[in-house]
Structure formats: structure tokens, C-alpha cells
Symmetry: C2
Subunit: 406 residues, 2 copies
């Protein structure tokens, strides 16, 4: 029951990047739940951003080690089991799956980055994954993004993927990405995974900078402290098999690459919110007139995490008092109530410390019929603005999360 | 559907403190919704703690001003309307109700502390309150705490009140208090009100210190940043009409007073959690082995505010992975996963970074059948411990908060 989430469009293949999926029966037996991604060329580079949670899941620990030690050539992803909170045995299990890829398809285990998403605290079924791997290898193909987008889903109701193709100085640059999420209130508590590929040739240091920039205005704007679940990860792979070659930041193609990757990341991040567990409304919280970025985000996230605001939106109730109360407890020093203005879409609802004189309940009700709603908060303290995306809190959310393990 | 919340017992009268209730029809017509509390003696003193929300409701602004300007003799409380987000008109409305008390019962308007709880952003119906006041005055009686506990309720399902009587050097000291709350996830978003009386004679400066100490281990342990809704307030009144006279902190009765007030405040605060909106479980989060108090509370509140933890408890699912993930994103530097231990009541569930070898799902299921559950988190970093109280997140919570205004 995703909120205006468009069906998956055509996901463009990335030359030099193959994907294969297979069913290992980890949690469900009637679907693919293992994905292998293979960067075929020596020229390829790989960048990644991982969760900031103090308790990284075993695959995150290992993926970081592997990324630091050698050039990554594979991503191995499974859904259905997060391999988190599994201690030393979990690390060995993740290592065993990387080793299996090396044995079955060549290269070293260190060239494999492992990713897991699903239930926390249960042993990873290594044998099931090992058994499924030959099928995933058999299926490796550049035109297999859609199957991969489906195989990484957990509580997602729709697969998520986007492609963008642009021309840079007469050359074609392609970016394709897939993501999964669906944790609603704070994506930092569900596992968010995203895998993005481009056919450009980019040195890994530059690629990492490109990913960091894109994260900051996409996945990190739907989450409280950046990525802080035990398993969150976002990977950007550059196959180097396309026509666009970037060697430094002065390269005209650099800016285009960053913009295109950002665009794909924002689309993937917003898709996660639109498919939030039980979501019925897609809410943009735009904070303007702040003295600095910290203020912006403090206000935006306090609203975004307020269960009272979220349940009011679920009820299509323009309960601006709850929004105002959230602004008030965001921790800003010397906040002046009279300077605060709150709009819902085009309707001004709070001004000078109280309800706007022109506001009518009918206006509020009309706005609340929309599925995409922007809460605009003007603080009147400065020039900085920023935005985050969230969704409402419904009965369905409670049902999904109360039943997840059963 | 409160969680093991005992029915209201006998609330002992406090000599020199009278309460009267009346029905003003503010939100409902079939119940009392106005309370007047009168400190009859010149000897009385009054202390109060208010919300830290930057946007104080009008009655909070006025109560602070009045408390600073003169000796308080009255509390005027209404439920059904919070008089918050109502701008200058709200302040005038609150002022008018104080004035009405002064006109009808003597004294100055400044001697009246106003309190409101209920819907935010609607004009306070001053005339309805003024009309009801003579009935509340008529009803003034020392033995009227129960009626007052009922009249201040909003989404509470049960009235909340406690009395304690102790002997100090052969003299009797009595403390009686009432509270209302019922906001579940963060009490800082609902209005919490508490009114506590004692018959001891206490200088107001000492009384304020006594209240601050009690707050810190009661109401401030069920809330994220102390009191941060727009209307939260806790008032401690000392009538001075009992036998116990306290003049300084060396007085042996001082410690007894502080302990007794603390005991009543904890009972009132825990009652608010037990009557949390939609609550089916009462959860104590005890964090031990922290380096300092900030760490303790960061971990405890991160768990307490996790919708994933709370929905798992609603489902009676011992999903310790969600608890572990919450500990990991609480922001503690250099947290060592292997040092963390998590118990549910007497069952050890996490040890050395993973599930305890002795733990069985059957044990977890057995603990989850209880309605009172303690999550004990041992961090292994130091000697400091602290605890907070919370409840689970149910369908009923969503229903209550999605329907509140309708």
C-alpha cells in the first residue's frame, strides 16, 4: 500500500556490471533472496557508506575490512536474515559466504562485500546460501537489475529502482540503482540497503566523495543520525566500461556524475519513505529561516519522529498544535513563538504564535485529503533551509512490526 | 485498559487545602472538568515545575508570572482545552479566569495559578469556566481529592492519586497527590499535570528544592527531556496547617518530607505510564554499568522511544535484536558489543555480543506473558545506574491519537 510509488520502470543495464539472483529459502521458499553483483573489469572501482550504529552486523564489519584491503569485485546480498547480534559465529558465517563466491567464481574472498537484511539475532543459514550460489552465478547478466531489486526486499511492498542517462560532452553516462527499506518511523531501525552502478570510470577516492555528497541530501534526510541501524549500507560501483572517464574534480563530467548519482539516490530514498511500513501519506518537512543547518534538522526530525504528528496525519487531521509543540521541544535556544509560521502545502495555518486568522478547518481538511503533503516551518531566525521526508503512523505499521518474527 | 493500575484508594485530606470541582461542559457535558484548589492559610507555600517546551501554553506563561509575583493561594485547572497555541487571546483568556476566581472568592488574580489540558489551538471557553466557578467554590472541601483526580482526566482511563502518611518525631506528616497524563510514547507530548499537597510548614525555597529532587526521579524518568509539552506542570503545595514544621535542611523532618513526596511522585508518574494510551505492558528500563548518568539515560530513552521495541513488546515478542540495535545507536563512544548484557526480568538473553548460549525462545515467551517487564541493560563501562519507565505501542494507541480531535 505504498504512497504514490510508481511501478518499477525499465532499469538500464550498466556495462561491466552483472547481477544474478537465486532462491535460497532463507525465510521464504517461493522467491529469490540471494543476489550476486559482479564488477567484471579490473578498471572498476567501488565506494560504500555503512551504518554508524555502534553494533555493526557481522556482514558490515566484514565488508568494511574487505573494502579496505583490496579492490571489491562482488557484492553478495541476502534478505530474510540480517546476521546481526550473532557474535563471532556470525562473522565466520559471513566470511564463509564470501569464501564460497571465491571458490565458485574465482578471485579472493576479500574481493567480496557481504550484505544481509532481515531478522536480527538468528544464525545465517550459510549452507542454504552456498547451495543457491551456483544458480545466482548462472543468472549473472547486465540486464538483471529488476530481479535484484525484488530479491533484496523484506517488508517492502514494491521493488525500488531508478535509472538516469545523461549526455556529457557527447558521451553517454548511465546510473542505475536499487534500494530496499520500509522501516517507517526511523529508517535507522530497519535495514536500508542501496546498490548503485555507473558505467563511468572514476578513481575510488573520487567515487567515495561522490557517494558521500549524494547520501547527505538523500538517504541521510530520511534518517535520524545518518545511517544507524546495524546493517544499513549504500554502495556505489563504477564499472569503467562506459565512454565517460573522470580523473579529477575539474573534469566537466564530475559535476554531472555527482548530480546524476544524487538524483538517483533521492529517488531511491524517497521510494523507501513512500513504501514505509503502513504509510498512507508522504510528508516533506521543509524548515526555512534557520540560523544554521543543525537547527533545521533538529526541528525537522523532531516533527518527523513525533508519533502524535504522525498519527494525526494518518487520521487526515490538520492538528497543527502537535506540529507547533514539536517545534517547541526541538531544543532551539531563544525560539520566539511569534516569529514561527507553519504552512501545510499552500495553506498558512500558524502565524504569530497562534492559528492564522484566515485559516479555516475546511482548508485544513482539504489539504489533508492529499497524499503528498509539505509541512513548511519558517523559523524567522536566519537564512538556512533544509528538508527531510517521512510518512504517517498507521494501524498497519503496528501490525507489521508486531508480527514481523511470527 | 490500564496495565495493573490499582483502583484509586482513599486520598487523605490535607488540613488547610480545599478542592472543589464543577462541570463547565468544555469538551464533554456529563462530567466535571474544572477544579479549584484553595490554600486557606497565610502560612501556606507553593512550588512548581513547568514544561521546558519553548512554546509554553498561555496558562503556563501566566502561572509562572503569578508564582513569581505573589504568594499563590489558588490553582485553577480545566481539562478539555489546553489553551495552547492561542496567541495573545489565549493569555487574556487565562487571565480572565484568574480574575474570575479573585472576584468570586476574594484575593488578587495574581494569587491564582491557571492550568489547562486538552486540545491544543482552540480558544478557551472563558464564559463556560466563569459560569461553573461558583459551583466549584461551593464544593470546596478538604476531602475532595478524588473528585479532583477525576475532573483533570483527558484520555486517562482511570483517575490517579496517592497518599502517604508518616510519623516524624511523634508528629504526623501527610502527603496526597493527583496526576493525569496518558500520552504514551513520550509523556512530553501529552500534557502531564500533577498537584501534590502536604500539611507540613515549609518555606517556599525549600519546598521548591524538595519538588525538584522528587521530579528528577519520577516525572522526569518517564519523559525525554524533563517536561517538554506545551502545558506540563507539577505543583507542590504546603499548607502549613499540620504539626510538622520545617525551617531548614538540617531539620530531621526535611529528609522524611523529601522521601515521602518522592514516593508519591513516583507512584503518580508510574500510574501515568500504566495508564499510557493503549498500553498493555509496563516496562522498566534499568541501565547499569554506565560511565555516567548521561550515558544511562541516553541508552534508556533510546530503547524507551523505539517504536520497533515497543511494537515487539505489544506482540509479546522477545525481540532482543531490536533492543540491542537501540543500545547501539544511543550515541555512546567506543561502546564494546562484547561487554553488553541484556536481561528480560530474570532471563539473560544477550551476552558477549550475541544471544546467550543458555537462552531459549520458550524462556523469552514466558517472560513476555508478564505485564510488568524489566529490560536490564548492563554496559560494563562504569558504576552508574538509572532507570526509566515506559509502555508498549499498540493499535489502541494509534486509534486514540488518530481520533483525538474528532
Amino acid at each position: 500500500m505504498a504512497v504514490q510509488l510508481a511501478p518499477l520502470g525499465r532499469l538500464l543495464p550498466i556495462a561491466g556490471l552483472q547481477l544474478g539472483t537465486a532462491g535460497a529459502g532463507i525465510k521464504h521458499t517461493n522467491r529469490d533472496d540471494v543476489v550476486l553483483i559482479h564488477l567484471t573489469s579490473e578498471q572498476a572501482s567501488c565506494a560504500a557508506v555503512f551504518t554508524r550504529n555502534a553494533f555493526c552486523a557481522a556482514p558490515v564489519v566484514l565488508a568494511k575490512q574487505h573494502l579496505a584491503s583490496t579492490a571489491a569485485r562482488y557484492c553478495l546480498i541476502n534478505s530474510g536474515n540480517a546476521n546481526a547480534g550473532t557474535g563471532a559465529a556470525g562473522l565466520q558465517a559471513a566470511q564463509a559466504t564470501c569464501q564460497a563466491v571465491a571458490e565458485l567464481h574465482g578471485g579472493s574472498a576479500e574481493a567480496v562485500l557481504p550484505f544481509s537484511t532481515g531478522v536480527i539475532g538468528q544464525a545465517l543459514p550459510v549452507e542454504k546460501i552456498r547451495t543457491a550460489l551456483p544458480n545466482a552465478i548462472q543468472a549473472l547478466s547486465e540486464d538483471n537489475w529488476t530481479a535484484a531489486a525484488k530479491a533484496i526486499m523484506t517488508t517492502d511492498t514494491q521493488p525500488k529502482g531508478f535509472s538516469r542517462q545523461v549526455e556529457v560532452q557527447g558521451q553517454t553516462l548511465t546510473v542505475t540503482g536499487i534500494s530496499k527499506g520500509a522501516g517507517m518511523i526511523r529508517p535507522d531501525m530497519a535495514t536500508m540497503l542501496a546498490f548503485i552502478g555507473t558505467d563511468a570510470a572514476v578513481p575510488s577516492e573520487l567515487l567515495q566523495r561522490c557517494l558521500a555528497q549524494a547520501m547527505d541530501v538523500s538517504f541521510n534526510r530520511i534518517s535520524v543520525d545518518g545511517d544507524t541501524s546495524t546493517n544499513d549500507a549504500c554502495v556505489l560501483m563504477a564499472s569503467g566500461q562506459g565512454a565517460v572517464q573522470i580523473s579529477n574534480e575539474q573534469d566537466p563530467a564530475w559535476t554531472v556524475l555527482c548530480e546524476t548519482v544524487t538524483e538517483v539516490c533521492q529517488a531511491l530514498a524517497q521510494a523507501i519513505v513512500r513504501d514505509g511500513e503502513g504509510a498512507t501519506k508522504f510528508i516533506t518537512i521543509a524548515v526555512e529561516g534557520a540560523a544554521n543547518r543543525e537547527e533545521c534538522l533538529a526541528v525537522a526530525y523532531t516533527i518527523a519522529h513525533s508519533p502524535l504528528v504522525k498519527t494525526a496525519f494518518f487520521a487526515s487531521d490538520a492538528n497543527w498544535g502537535r506540529i507547533l509543540a514539536a517545534v517547541g521541544r526541538a531544543g532551539l535556544n531563544n525560539l520566539v513563538l511569534e516569529d514561527v509560521q507553519i504552512d501545510l502545502n499552500e495553506v498558512n495555518i500558524v502565524r504569530q504564535g497562534g492559528v492564522s486568522p484566515e485559516y479555516t478547518e475546511a482548508q485544513g481538511q482539504r489539504v489533508m485529503q492529499e497524499t503528498d503533503i509539505t509541512i513548511r516551518v519558517q523559523l524567522g531566525r536566519g537564512e538556512v533551509s533544509d528538508q527531510v521526508w517521512t510518512c504517517d503512523l498507521s494501524h498497519e505499521y503496528v501490525s507489521i512490526n508486531a508480527d514481523y518474527r511470527t
